[in-house]
Each structure stands twice: as structure tokens, then as C-alpha cells.
């Protein structure tokens, strides 16, 4: 058995196509990095946008995530799926931003400001506001955003990772550095909370 075969057997993550791209980039192939960007940039952008709630900030933070990935290449070792690794970076950057933002502008109750105008400004999303879009639909989206945003930080992140990023419970546990049991508990409570917050839409 060759050395590479035995290494593959030891490290299952070497079969992950994104890990392969990252290792190619580590050897100096910038096109592999651009392939990774094409694969993950839209996902990370949406994850951060849903988590921090501001499009422009999400754009900047997504760039920051990829700058971090770029600079981490030299020391990168595949110890998890690439997806888990990059979402962990995105999570940490988003949490830092959210805490910085809350410390500077938001009241002590730990949620975004509840004034309608302020909320609308925070959730400004040019893509979602298409001309002629049904106002009712827009209101539904606005309520969904508000309901998710009002969740405790961990529940909010777990919901976004599960519902919108399609991560498995295992992957969420790895990304959030929690046990499987803790993730189950988080998501169970989060779903119950959302059911209560969005009851008026569901029961219509």
C-alpha cells in the first residue's frame, strides 16, 4: 500500500472535493481558490446575511471570511470537511460583528431594535424588494426575518444552518462546537419558539 493510500485511509476528509481544492491552493494554485469561492461564496454570503441581517455588512464579512481562508492556506490541515471549517470561520466572524454592533447601537435586551423603521433599515435587502412584489408576501418575509432574529443567538444560528444551509445535525454540532445532544435541544426549542412567533401566519 502506498503512502498516499494509507494517508487517505487515515484521513477521510482528503476525499472531500473542497478539501482537495484547498490543498491544491495550498500548493500555489490560485484557480483552485477561485473554484472554492464560486462554490462557497454565495452560501457564506447568505448565511452571514441571514445572521447579521444587513446586506452590505454581509458582503464585507463574506470577503473577510475568504481573506481568512486565503491567509490560512499555509497552515491548513484537513481535520474536518471543508464546509464545516469555512462555516466555523463565518460563524466566528459573524458573532464578532453582531456583538460589536449590539454593543454600539442596540439596547440591553440583546435583540435588534424593535422600532419598525429601524428594523426595516436593518433588514434592507435590495434583492428581496422586486418591483411589483406582493406586499403581503413581503410582510411575510419581514415577519420570518424578525422571528428568526428574535431567537437567542445559538438557536438562530442552528436554525439558519439547518434550514437554509442544509447542514446535518452532526455538521451543525461541529460548526458550533457543541455536542449532538446540545444541538438537538437547541433546535427543538428553536422550532417551538418559531411556531409560537409565526403562529399568525401558519394558522391563517
Amino acid at each position: 500500500m502506498s503512502a498516499i493510500d494509507s494517508q487517505n485511509k487515515i484521513n477521510p476528509y482528503l476525499a472531500d472535493p473542497a478539501v482537495i481544492l484547498m490543498l491544491e491552493f495550498q500548493k500555489g494554485d490560485n484557480t483552485s481558490f477561485e473554484k472554492l469561492m464560486v462554490l462557497y461564496y454565495p452560501r457564506i454570503l447568505n448565511f452571514i446575511n441571514r445572521f447579521v441581517g444587513r446586506r452590505q455588512v454581509a458582503e464585507d464579512l463574506t470577503q473577510e471570511v475568504f481573506i481568512k481562508v486565503y491567509h490560512s492556506a499555509a497552515s491548513y490541515k484537513p481535520q474536518s470537511k471543508f464546509q464545516t471549517w469555512i462555516y466555523t470561520i463565518a460563524k466566528n466572524i459573524s458573532l464578532n460583528e453582531l456583538r460589536k454592533y449590539k454593543n454600539s447601537t442596540v439596547s440591553l435586551d440583546g435583540t435588534f431594535a424593535t422600532e419598525d423603521d429601524e428594523l426595516k433599515k436593518q433588514w434592507e435587502d435590495l434583492d428581496a424588494k422586486k418591483p411589483g412584489q406582493d406586499l403581503v408576501e413581503e410582510e411575510v418575509v419581514s415577519q420570518i426575518k424578525a422571528a428568526i432574529d428574535e431567537l437567542p443567538e445559538n438557536q438562530k444560528m442552528a436554525v439558519i444552518l439547518l434550514r437554509y444551509e442544509q447542514l446535518s445535525y452532526d455538521e451543525i454540532a461541529a460548526t458550533m462546537n457543541l455536542s449532538m445532544q446540545a444541538v438537538k435541544s437547541l433546535l427543538s426549542r428553536a422550532k417551538e419558539n418559531l411556531k409560537v412567533k409565526l403562529a399568525n401566519l401558519v394558522n391563517e
Binding site: 470577503q63 434583492d127 408576501e137 428568526i148 433546535l187 394558522n203
Partner: protein, 167 residues
């Protein structure tokens, strides 16, 4: 199992992450409990409702924006190095760079090892041995002339002999 416990498990039941024993318990309970069935439907509908929040699309220039941001964030020496790499490595000019470097190094080595003979040494080559000896002892010769020219040294004998005259 009570409804309260089942309700906690329903979200996980829907995601199929319960172990087989819990899964069977919830499934069995749901067949007979209308309240829990209602709870399951509400959670399922709420979860489905979340899909109405649409994705956003990144700008079409996000890759080039990334490279611009990366280079503007880097310190100046790194930017120069990157530019250097881009020109010489990416565009296949590395052999040219290596050749220029080799020429420079060889040039410096040759310059350092070549002996430069001063003009005075070149003139000495044309002298015969006696002339060379004279030049080597020129300082001594100069001193001899100076001693001869000093008058007070000639008077020294007179002064030394003064005591003899007095006696």
C-alpha cells in the same frame, strides 16, 4: 410517555434524528393523540414557511472584488512581492529573471576578485634594486640631512666642554 415529553421530541422526529426507540414511541403516541398531531403539523408548516425568505445573489464581480480587497489590505512589501510574482512567475518570465540574477552575481564576483594595482606600485616595477633600496630608506636619508642642517647641534660640543674650561 406524556404529551409534554412528546412535544419536545416532535421537532427531532420530523428531522429523523431520534434513536429508533424514541422514534417508535413518538410514532405510536401520534396515532392516538390529536393534540400532538396538531403540534406536529404546526411545526412542520412553520418550518416550511421559512423557505419564503429568499436567497440573495452576490454581485457579479465578487471574485475580482476579492482580489482587489486582498491586495489593498496587504502591506506594501507584500504587494510588491505579489506583483513581482505575477510578472515573473505567472507570465513565464522566471528563466529570464534567473539568467539576469546569475549574470549579476557572476559580475559582482569577477569585480571583487580582479586585483587593482595602484599607480605608485606600477612605477616601482621599472626601478633597479639600488634605486628601490634608496626609496625604502628615503626617510632615514631625509632625517640625516635635517640633523646636519641644525646649527645648535654643532654648538653642543662647545656647551659640553664649558665645565672643562672653567676648571
Amino acid at each position: 410517555m406524556q404529551c409534554a415529553e412528546i412535544k419536545n421530541l416532535i421537532p427531532l422526529y420530523l428531522d429523523q434524528v431520534l434513536d429508533s426507540k424514541e422514534n417508535q414511541l413518538v410514532a405510536k403516541h401520534l396515532t392516538t393523540c390529536l393534540a400532538c398531531q396538531k403540534e406536529l403539523n404546526a411545526i412542520k408548516r412553520t418550518w416550511n414557511l421559512l423557505e419564503k425568505w429568499p436567497d440573495i445573489k452576490p454581485s457579479s464581480t465578487y471574485v475580482s472584488e476579492f482580489w482587489t480587497k486582498l491586495s489593498s489590505d496587504a502591506p506594501w512589501y507584500k504587494r510588491v512581492l505579489d506583483k513581482f510574482k505575477q510578472v515573473f512567475v505567472k507570465e513565464g518570465l522566471a528563466p529570464v529573471l534567473v539568467t539576469v540574477c546569475i549574470i549579476l552575481v557572476v559580475g559582482v564576483v569577477i569585480k571583487k576578485t580582479s586585483v587593482v594595482v595602484p599607480e605608485s606600485e606600477q612605477a616601482m616595477v621599472s626601478l633597479n634594486p639600488s634605486e628601490l633600496e634608496m626609496i625604502e630608506n628615503v626617510e632615514l636619508a631625509e632625517n640625516y640631512d635635517i640633523v646636519q642642517d641644525i646649527d645648535f647641534l654643532q654648538d653642543l660640543d662647545v656647551i659640553e666642554n664649558c665645565d672643562d674650561l672653567e676648571t
